[in-house]
């Protein structure tokens, strides 16, 4: 009993023990903050990587793509009805993005998608900017320029009817009233119809004039542009837009033959309307990709059926077939079964198709979204492990510090140890007293550390804002680098418990040597002098 009693009493009366508590608290708080932020970072990356594609991707492996994708998609729904929810093709190509009113150009990866199907197999819709405020208005089909007119009675800007209705739907459904208030405070910036560029930068830009609200200009296919490709990212993570929604932009493309050779001369140019911008949260994608209609892109890239030299027609091609799974289906099992189905499908097709098509069929393989993003996710995972390891290493200081503190305590308590041994305490009991004492120090320190660390993580964005308000150099989290507006601020229970347990064990380890010294105290020597 004396061990429990004295451990509690020493903790209450010995100031030096609170230094041990403080060191354990700070170290466990530090590790918890690092673990939570890096873990949150990793989870966000995984979540966003998952939302990029679909659960399973049949990847062509080449720029020229593979044929019979729609046929295989239908086959999958028949062969694996309990597994496959839907399929949709996607074309990947490369080109040059150009804003026609300037000489401003950028390389781009052009993705051809059937938008209505594409948004059902991933979380693409959630990243569309204008689609949020005007749901149902983002389309990749042919469309005119939406022009905001002026109400002659009030002199205020007036949206075209379809946009106004869509905006009303958003208002009715939006739970974030702050977002509605922000929209009302600054609905959009007007851009002159002849220039389609606003004088200022803001959240939303529409062509506007004094006339009636309307859709005007030639019908052009829509294009969704990666948010970092066209816009300027602000330090708060939002974007400055200047180009009006619906403004024409140009894409220059390089079509390829089924053999992978350039198709015709010169490269073709498409003029499209900028209808929205997309934010996946991954900078490498948002600064590179543009999205156009699948059928239009397939046609322009000559991936649609073309006259063949032998007089027949080539098969339509795509680069990917995205497969959305039903809920609860294991993606690895699904990948394996789809792979087997693809092999069977390929084997059945090879005897009847051209040599080039057979080669392109054989090159296609099924992957899970994790397979495709493995290198990206693995890099973040390694970063998390490395940073946690480094901070964990620093936290070893706590063990040394607890060891030093307990060594000092044992030195000061030599006489007490002699007294305890003189009244029958064993060496193991005395060692146990100091280990228990350290455990109590570790317990108190880890509980306080977990509370402190959790508070820091929960308020880490406010802390950063405070630091940034003091000096811009103190802003350590850059949304431009990390693609996230906010630092991840969730604490996992398992992390908190893990950190707490490790801190307690570390304190125990730190006390082992002092406890051993205490156990070896010779009572006669300890009691000889006052």
């Amino acid at each position: 009993m004396y061990k429990w009693f004295l451990a509690a009493r020493y903790l209450r009366t010995k100031l030096i023990a609170w230094l041990g508590v403080a060191s354990v608290m700070l170290c466990s708080a530090m590790v918890l903050v690092v673990l939570s932020v890096m873990g949150g970072f990793l989870d966000t990356v995984r979540e966003r990587a998952r939302g990029l594609h679909s659960e399973i991707i049949l990847e062509g492996g080449t720029l020229q793509g593979f044929p019979f994708y729609d046929e295989f998609g239908e086959l999958l729904k028949v062969e694996l009805p309990d597994m496959v929810e839907r399929t949709t093709p996607a074309i990947y190509s490369y080109g040059i993005f150009r804003e026609p009113r300037t000489t401003w150009t950028k390389p781009t990866r052009v993705v051809g998608v059937r938008l209505d199907e594409y948004v059902k197999v991933n979380s693409f819709r959630a990243g569309l900017h204008y689609e949020r405020y005007f749901p149902g208005t983002t389309s990749l089909g042919l469309q005119g320029l939406s022009v905001v007119g002026t109400d002659p009675a009030t002199g205020r800007f007036k949206l075209p009817e379809s946009l106004a209705r869509a905006n009303a739907r958003w208002r009715a459904a939006e739970k974030d009233q702050e977002a509605v208030a922000a929209f009302d405070a600054d609905p959009f910036l007007p851009a002159p119809v002849d220039r389609l560029v606003s004088m200022e930068v803001g959240e939303r830009v529409f062509a506007a004039d004094m006339g009636e609200p309307r859709f005007s200009g030639p019908d052009l296919p829509g294009v969704i542009v990666g948010c970092d490709l066209l816009n300027e990212r602000r330090p708060d993570g939002n974007f400055n837009r200047y180009l009006a929604r619906g403004a024409p932009v140009a894409l220059t493309l390089m079509p390829l033959t089924p053999m992978g050779n350039p198709f015709g001369e010169p490269p073709i140019k498409m003029v499209l309307r900028y209808v929205d911008d997309s934010r996946t949260g991954i900078f490498e994608i948002d600064s590179l990709q543009t999205y156009v209609d699948f059928d239009i892109l397939q046609d322009r890239l000559a991936m649609s059926p073309q006259p063949a030299v032998d007089g027949g027609m080539t098969s339509a091609r795509t680069n990917q077939l995205l497969v959305g799974l039903k809920k609860g289906v294991d993606i690895n099992i699904a990948r394996d079964q789809i792979s087997e189905a693809w092999e069977r499908f390929t084997m059945s097709k090879v005897p009847t198709v051209s040599r080039v098509d057979a080669t392109n069929l054989r090159l296609a393989k099924a992957y899970t979204w994790e397979d495709l993003q493995r290198s990206f996710i693995a890099a973040v995972e390694k970063e998390k492990v490395l940073v946690t390891f480094l901070f964990g290493l620093i936290s070893m200081v706590a063990i040394v510090l607890v060891g030093c503190i307990f060594y000092m305590i044992v030195e000061k308590k030599t006489r007490d140890i002699g007294i305890l041994k003189s009244i029958g305490a064993s060496s193991q009991g005395v060692a146990g007293l100091f280990i228990l004492y350290a455990t109590v120090v570790g317990l108190v320190g880890s509980v306080l550390g977990v509370l402190l660390g959790s508070e820091v993580v929960w308020h880490i964005n406010e802390i950063q804002d405070l630091l940034a308000s003091m000096s811009p150099q103190l802003r350590v989290w850059s949304p431009e680098i990390y693609s996230f507006d906010k630092i991840p601020n969730a604490v996992k229970t398992v992390d908190a418990i893990g950190v707490g347990v490790v801190a307690i064990v570390a304190s125990m380890i730190g006390s082992l040597i002092p406890a051993r010294i205490a156990a070896r105290v010779w009572p006669v020597a300890a009691l000889r002098y006052e």
Partner: protein
């Protein structure tokens, strides 16, 4: 009750070996009050430590109630220290973080496990309060040691030594750090305990203190020189075993 035979003990001091006890043999009977006298460095405290199993002799034999303590296991020696022996030191040796009651309870806390303590706590606490009252510190029961005088601290040390109803009380210069008046009070307390049947072995070089004992043992350079009885009527063989009233 307690018998030593040919005890030898030496300590290494630097390169030399200092012989402190050189063949000490004597017997203490139940209820006896034995004073061990001798000059500084004669081996008095060392002999007391050996009797209390705080230290191990180089050679010799120590028997308690016929059992060989040196042949006993460590756990048995600890139990002997905890239950059969009560130590009173010259410098009191109280735990400074604890108050009077907690210091007195400490041997009982050492004796019992966490769960065992919950069972006996109220009983033992009552006994401790009774002993504290008996040594005259009922009003100081919640005071810390640093709030007590030297004499009061020694009374706490005596109460702590008595809490487990030990067979033998070992007192090492219990009045050595006190003035004559307070030391006299402590001596009276110890003598009173002996009158109640408590076996008492006291180390002192104060001849006045030694006058209270039944028997005086002189240690000179680690050797027992003579043993004399001071009160024929009070020899233990005639007192017999008596319980210590608490």
């Amino acid at each position: 009750m307690l018998k030593t035979t040919g005890l030898h003990k030496s300590y290494r001091m630097g390169r030399s070996l200092v012989s402190v006890l050189r063949g000490v043999s004597f017997t203490v009977d139940r209820g006896e009050f034995v004073v061990i006298r001798g000059a500084s460095g004669s081996g008095k405290s060392t002999l007391l430590h050996l009797l209390g199993m705080l230290d191990i002799p180089d050679r010799g034999r120590i028997e308690f109630d016929g059992g060989d303590l040196l042949a006993a296991r460590e756990a048995e020696r600890r139990a002997y220290r905890n239950v059969q022996i009560g130590f009173v030191f010259q410098f009191y040796h109280l735990l400074p973080e604890c108050n009077v009651l907690e210091n007195v309870l400490m041997p009982q806390m050492v004796r019992h496990s966490f769960l065992g303590w919950r069972r006996v706590r109220s009983t033992v606490r009552g006994e401790a309060e009774s002993i504290i009252e008996r040594v005259g510190l009922a009003e100081r029961i919640t005071h810390r040691c640093n709030e007590l005088s030297g004499g009061e601290r020694q009374r706490v040390a005596i109460a702590r030594a008595l809490i487990n109803r030990p067979a033998i009380l070992l007192a090492d210069e219990p009045t050595g750090n006190l003035d004559a008046k307070i030391g006299g009070g402590i001596l009276g307390l110890l003598a009173g305990l002996n009158q109640g049947g408590q076996t008492l072995i006291m180390v002192t070089h104060d001849s006045a203190v030694a006058d209270h004992a039944h028997r005086r043992v002189h240690l000179v350079d680690g050797v027992l020189r003579k043993s004399e009885e001071t009160d024929e009527l009070a020899t233990p063989s005639r007192i017999g075993r008596r319980e210590v009233p608490l």
